[in-house]
Every structure is written in C-alpha cells, then in structure tokens.
Subunit: 104 residues, 4 copies
Amino acid sequence: MPLGFPLFSGCNIENICYPLGVCAERTAIQKAISEGHREFRAIAISSDLQDDFISPCGACRQVMREFGTNWAVYMTKPDGTYVVRTVLELLPAPFGSIGWQKIQ
Amino acid sequence: MPLGFPLFSGCNIENICYPLGVCAERTAIQKAISEGHREFRAIAISSDLQDDFISPCGACRQVMREFGTNWAVYMTKPDGTYVVRTVLELLPAPFGSIGWQKIQ
Amino acid sequence: MPLGFPLFSGCNIENICYPLGVCAERTAIQKAISEGHREFRAIAISSDLQDDFISPCGACRQVMREFGTNWAVYMTKPDGTYVVRTVLELLPAPFGSIGWQKIQ
Amino acid sequence: MPLGFPLFSGCNIENICYPLGVCAERTAIQKAISEGHREFRAIAISSDLQDDFISPCGACRQVMREFGTNWAVYMTKPDGTYVVRTVLELLPAPFGSIGWQKIQ
C-alpha cells in the first residue's frame, strides 16, 4: 500500500431501532481493532454535507480516545477541503486518563 | 475459500466507558456490511464460558434481525459442541416487521 | 397509587446522532433504577403502530433481563388490545445466566 | 425547591452486556426529558475519583449538546472542588449544527 500502513474504511450502519446503529468512524475503528491493530495515525471523515466540515459525534470521539489522544482527525467537505484536529482537541479533558488535572 | 462465501471475524471491543464498547457479533456483522454484504447465512459465537453455550445479547440479536430472521446462529462451547437456532427463534416477535400479528 | 406499587413512564429520546438515542422501555427502566428500584412486575409498551402489537427491541429485552426473566411485557395496540409475554419468552436463552444449558 | 427549577439525579446503570449500560449523565438527562423538560441550565457530575475532576464521556457530551451548547457542566472531586465548562467547550465543533464553519 502506498501509504505504508493499513487503511480501514467504514460506513454508517443504521438499524430500524435507531440506537442500535453505529457511525462510520466506529465501524472503521472496530474493523481495525478486530484485525489486530491498536495504534492509529489518522482518521478521515467524509459526508455529503455541503456547508460545513463533517465532525465526529461524541461517542466516536471517546472511542478514538481509547486508542490515544494525539492522533489526527481529518474533517472534510465534498469539495475536498478539510480541517484537522487531534483527538484531544475534539474531546478535551476526556473521560478516562488525561483529565482536567493534567491539562489545566 | 473452502466454504464458497466470505467469512468475517469479530471480537468484543471494550471501552473505559462501558456503554461505548461493542460485542463481537456486531463487530463481525458491521465489518461485513461495510464491505458491501447484506445477506448472511450463519454466525458462530465462541467464548471461554465452560458451562454453557454462549448466546448473543439482545442488541446483537436485533442487529442480526436487521438482515433477516431466518439465518443460523451457532452458539458454541470451548469443547466444540454447539446449539443452533434461527435469528427469529432467538428474537421472537422482533421489533420491526414480522411481529406478533404474523407469528401468533 | 391504586396499583400499590410505583409506576415509571418513559419515551423514545432521539439524537441527531441516531445511535445515541434511547428507547422508551430503557428510559422507563433506567428511571426506576435510578430511583432505587430493582424489582419489576410488568412493563407496558404502546405506540401508534396500527397493524401489530408493538414489541421491544432486542437491546431493551436484554436490559429487562438484567432485572429478572419472569416478569411481564405487555405489547399493545392503539385499540387497547395486547399480548403479554415474559421477558424470557422474548429473549430465550439470554446472554448472561439462564442460558441454553438450563432451558433445553 | 430552593433553586427554583427542577432537579433530576442519575446513576450509572451497568449491564452484564457492557455496551447496554448507560452513564449517570444520560440517565439524569433522559429522566428530565421524559418528564417534559427540554431546557437545561447545568449538570453536575460526581464520582469517587480522588485525583481528578470527573468528566463526562463523549457520548454524554453529545446527548447534552442535543439540548444546547451553552449550558454548564460541573465536574467535581470528592473534596467538593470543581471545574465548570460549557457543553461546547467539552465538545468543540459538535456533530450536528454549530460545526467548524461557524466557530473557526
């Protein structure tokens, strides 16, 4: 693979019972985990939202944080533009370690 | 592949925030869905539980049912024995279609 | 209260991120738990579904089972008719105790 | 009530199937919603964590955000000290409205 590391893709998976669906970000992360990976460099999120960069929901941010706080989240628009932030920037003082005490 | 159809594996993925974990069954199903599959023949569940056949949680049963009620769930023991039931047998009168009206 | 025991009501609570919603059944159960109750006699579910009795999703069945398998689930229609089943009938061989080994 | 507005309490509710548990914050919010409330002024979170202020998980932040971004989250320690942040500070550029475009 050109990038030199594995790439996993995900998609939203809905359910007739809404709470039992899952977001694309978690689908991709769970695929990687189930294939034995534990370290992530970056995740890129795309959608058909035209007017803003698509950002991950809070649940996905917490799942990202389980595997580190200092990796990159690319939030894109359909025109190819994007903003990038670390997991910690998207989930400041996350539940779990690295809480308020340490970052204040 | 000997079986003549794709096989996807999953695992439990825990989170420091318990409700954000996911079961092995859903991990496997979500992987298959995200790779373009919509039809399932069977799912097999294993665990280190010695005294009983491992069965899927209710949430996983509902996610299975999203893709049909008449496919097979193999519930195994570490010694290789198992019981098998259909999704509908494990989730009678499921939320969504095929409710009480039709099966009474 | 006429019935001689506390009654808790719930409702579906949706979220712009679908998986973060919660069903009415779990809302009601969680309210009761957070008020100190651990034993349930019955739960009744209603909806505007005309053609069938509304049944709980698999996730709600598993949450019901956490508090026993032998209590009553009333599944109703807007016309006031209903069917009633135990939690175990709705979630046979549930994940957790009382598995296949014991009910076969 | 002294404060002049209703107060709802919650607690973590675990499940033998971990993903089916729910956090205290969501329990409290869901109780309030199911009692007809839609506007929140503040939420306070406590735990027995000694070394840091307890902060909400990402899923709870997203559920808080469903009901506004400008209300207060008090994160406490057992000694009674606390830090307070808005929902938006805890979930910058949240999924849903008020995304990156508007806050950059």
